[in-house]
């Protein structure tokens, strides 16, 4: 079986090489059959990688420990669902997932564009196969998932317990879908520049792929934040960790691109800027993929040094240099058709939005790579922490939210005093009202948070105003009922209304972030049962301790769970009963009779009461010193008594627990972050959904492009 998997990878590499040759030959000579053959090589790549991935996945599900990867990342005690997902917890498996997703998305894209943009697609095919060749090359020569062990061990290492959470399992596929989808606009940009066809048709298609990539990457990032909050024992959702930042950077430039491309479509401006953004996004996506697995930066995600560093750096350098060379050599194609008329116009707001987003990306980039930069400059590796990041990203985020409210209602080309008054009155009133309403609630002490809330109200006001005006206009035209008018309004301009929904979602998300980071109350307490502690007006009583063995209440394969039952009330009224716990996982037999069952890793099961206005979060840490003493005593017993000793420990903990350390956090509006994210996702789907007249628009766009080209103005 491993032989089949490896053979498919080698064939995949061959298919990539063939496809690159065929596509480029087809592009240069104009012979369509060769270009088509190159496209079919992508389909072949997808098929081969599906088989390869299937072989590996099957090996994990069957716990076939002759596969080295399976033996080091799974075990018979890993629950079924996590066995399947353990494939991508390993270096090799995650590379294979990346390559597989690249092949699948590329096939989908090339299939849907098989009859269009015939000048560009061969070059794009070659570029996509270039990516495929790089990753298949790594899989064949550097990190093979099909390495076979001389003698298969009886039991594997098991999946890291920290990863045994549903969010953590969808998080990589979502992220990788985002990364791989961003290579598509990159490839099409390279193709368009190479074929000298940077026109309306290219823009329209590229935008769609970029939106899909942005959508998946955004969901991946949000899932990571959600996992961090609800699973890790620190109670936060974003740590400005290098790997988190690496996924955020292409998302920021991708967002910038999605906006600036509208200016190119409407007014033929910012062409150099647009292609540069697309190319930069693609390079950043590969950079992000590289950062996770290279070990060059210290991170909680850091997975130690690996041998893949050099090939990746070389590849990224090649992509960056090639992109710059391509843009410079085609700059005559990218001359702007129009110029900025006024700073008070929608174009100017879009430009400003782009500058803010690119600025944010620069801040994140600088902070993330600072250890390497400082080492190069001063010889000393130094790093910057979250306070530094917050200092620069908070003002930029405020500007971003404000712009997202101004953009939709300011006029194109030049805003006059009259239409400014008409459009801005209501949203400004909303913002002012919000600010005034929040003053008595002690928000004024935190001016930045107050600004964020006011700006979010501005956004809600401006988009609400647009909705009301649009519905009113439809009703006047077609005398539809209000709900139908709203639906028709969205249907006829999905892009705009998807975008507006996303803006509202982002505003909600930022409100959640601002509130939960500014007005959080944290308390650390060491408690024994029947003690009470007070946090932000909440009374928390430690009711009793719990100890369970071989129960595995969360389905993660934990052998022992020690926890607490907490009663949370406010003003005498019961709010929630929380059950934070600590899961203990098996180690190896050398750790002793009792130790082998529970001295492996440990994870926190967080007790969380989420609410519309406030989240109450609590994590418990049973006294580790006490546990180690008891385990040491248990290790004196013969191996056969292990299970009984474990049960006794759990019971002893439940009846006479030592003081346990609790971390209690009351954060307002955390739910708004997840809610905002869902609104953004819904908006993304609306924007992505094919419009009813897509075919017509496509044809007119390509005709327009042809005419423009003939007139020498493409």
């Amino acid at each position: 079986m491993p032989v089949l998997g490896r053979a498919c990878l080698i064939l995949a590499l061959v298919a990539c090489a063939y496809g690159i040759g065929a596509s480029l030959y087809g592009a240069r000579t104009g012979r369509r059959e060769w270009a088509d053959s190159g496209r079919r090589a992508v389909y072949a790549l997808a098929g081969l990688l599906t088989v390869s991935f299937g072989v590996l996945e099957l090996a994990f599900l069957r716990s076939d420990f002759s596969f080295a990867t399976v033996a080091t990342h799974s075990s018979t005690t890993t629950p079924g669902f996590y066995k399947g997902a353990a494939v991508w917890s390993s270096q090799e498996g995650s590379l294979l997932l990346w390559a597989w997703l690249l092949a699948m998305w590329s096939s989908l894209v090339l299939f849907s564009t098989r009859r269009r943009m015939r000048d560009i697609t061969p070059y794009a095919t070659a570029m996509l196969l270039g990516f495929g060749a790089f990753f298949c090359g790594l899989l064949v020569f550097a990190a093979s998932p099909f390495h076979v062990l001389a003698s298969a061990p009886a039991e594997g290492n098991g999946l890291n317990p920290l990863l045994r959470h549903p969010s953590m399992m969808i998080h990589p596929p979502m992220l990788y879908s985002g990364y791989t989808l961003f290579t598509v606009p990159f490839a099409f940009a390279v193709g368009a520049l190479a074929a000298r066809r940077v026109d309306a048709e290219w823009i329209r298609s590229t935008r769609r792929f970029a939106l899909a990539a942005w959508f998946f990457l955004g969901i991946g990032i949000l899932l990571g934040a959600r996992w961090s909050y609800s699973e890790l024992g620190w109670g936060g959702y974003w740590a400005w960790d290098p790997v988190e930042n690496a996924s955020l950077m292409p998302w920021l430039t991708g967002t910038a691109f999605l906006h600036s491309v509208m200016i190119q479509e409407k007014r033929g401006m910012l062409k150099v800027w647009n292609v540069s953004l697309v190319l930069a996004t693609g390079v950043l996506a590969i950079l992000g993929t590289f950062l996770v697995r290279s070990g060059i930066l210290d991170s909680i995600h850091a997975f130690g040094a690996s041998t893949l560093g050099k090939p990746f750096v070389a590849f990224i350098a090649l992509l960056a240099a090639g992109s710059i060379a391509l843009v410079v050599s085609r700059r005559d194609l990218l001359r702007t058709e129009n110029r900025l008329d006024s700073l008070l116009s929608r174009e100017a707001m879009f430009l400003l939005n782009n500058l803010v987003l690119v600025g944010l990306c620069f801040v994140v980039f600088w902070g993330t790579f600072f250890p390497l930069i400082s080492e190069a400059v001063t010889g000393q590796k130094a790093s910057v922490g979250p306070p530094w990041f917050d200092r620069y990203t908070v003002p930029l985020a405020l500007m971003l939210v404000l712009l997202s409210g101004i953009g939709p209602v300011i006029a194109w080309r030049r805003a006059t005093a009259a239409n400014t008054r008409r459009n801005f009155l209501f949203p400004s009133a909303c913002a002012a009202l919000c600010a005034v309403a929040l003053l008595p609630v002690h928000v004024a002490q935190k001016p930045l948070a107050l600004c964020m809330f006011a700006f979010a109200a501005f956004v809600a006001g401006s988009i609400g105003q647009e909705l009301v005006r649009g519905v009113r206009a439809r009703r006047a035209m077609a005398s539809e009922s209000v709900p139908l008018a709203a639906v028709q309004l969205v249907r006829r301009n999905r892009r705009r209304w998807g975008g507006y929904t996303i803006h509202v979602g982002m505003a909600v998300l930022f409100v959640g972030v601002a509130a939960s980071s500014t007005f959080q109350h944290t308390r650390d307490a060491s408690l024994v049962p029947r003690q009470t502690v007070r946090v932000d007006g909440y009374d928390v009583r430690y009711v009793k301790a719990t100890g369970r063995v071989a129960d595995d209440p969360d389905g993660t394969g934990a052998f022992m769970t020690l926890g607490a039952v907490l009663d949370v009330s406010k003003g005498g009224r019961h709010v929630a009963t929380l059950r934070p716990a600590r899961n203990y996982y098996p180690g190896d037999p050398s750790q002793g009779t009792v130790g082998q069952y529970i001295m492996g890793d440990a994870t926190s099961e967080v007790g969380l009461k989420a609410g519309a206005t406030r989240d109450f979060w609590v994590a418990v840490q049973p006294d580790a010193g006490w546990l180690m003493k008891v385990v040491a005593k248990g290790n004196d017993l013969p191996p056969s008594a292990g299970g009984l000793a474990l049960a006794a420990i759990a019971q002893r903990y439940a009846e006479r627990p030592p003081p346990a350390d609790f971390r209690l956090i009351a954060s307002p509006l955390v739910t708004w972050i997840w809610l905002g994210g869902m609104i953004v996702a819904a908006g993304g789907l609306v924007a992505l959904w094919p419009a009813p007249d897509l075919a017509r628009r496509r044809v007119t766009a390509s005709l327009r492009a042809r005419v423009a080209q003939e007139l020498g103005r493409a």
């Binding site: 890790l232 210290d298 909680i300 700073l343 400082s374 790093s383 910057v384 010193g625």
Partner: protein
Amino acid sequence: MDPARKRTIRLTVALTAAVLLAGALIYTSFSASSPAKTPSQLMAGAEAGRSYQLTGKVAPGYVRRGNTLDFRVRDRSGRAAVPVRYTGTVPDPFRAGREVIVTVRKQGAGFVGERDSLVTKCPSKFTDSKRST
């Protein structure tokens, strides 16, 4: 003023602002950063009161007393070991042999860890070595 001149002025102003902001950012990053040091580097010379980012492996034999954790961080190659007294959240993967990053300040003969600054790197998922205690 003709449009071309207006545009040039706008561009100049924008570029100047960008350069100034970038400059401020770069300047503060150098002063706001904590140098990363290994245990042997820290033992060789550490100023009292200055914060450093200590990276290394947790040496076996750490003691937890309530909210306080007393542990030693040693070099990857295993020579020097620095004692750290830390208060705050201890990440789940923390145990002897794991790589950690913690912000510390020199106090007397030992080092005090900054609250909640302890980060434990995910145990080697991407290497071939078998898991060790």
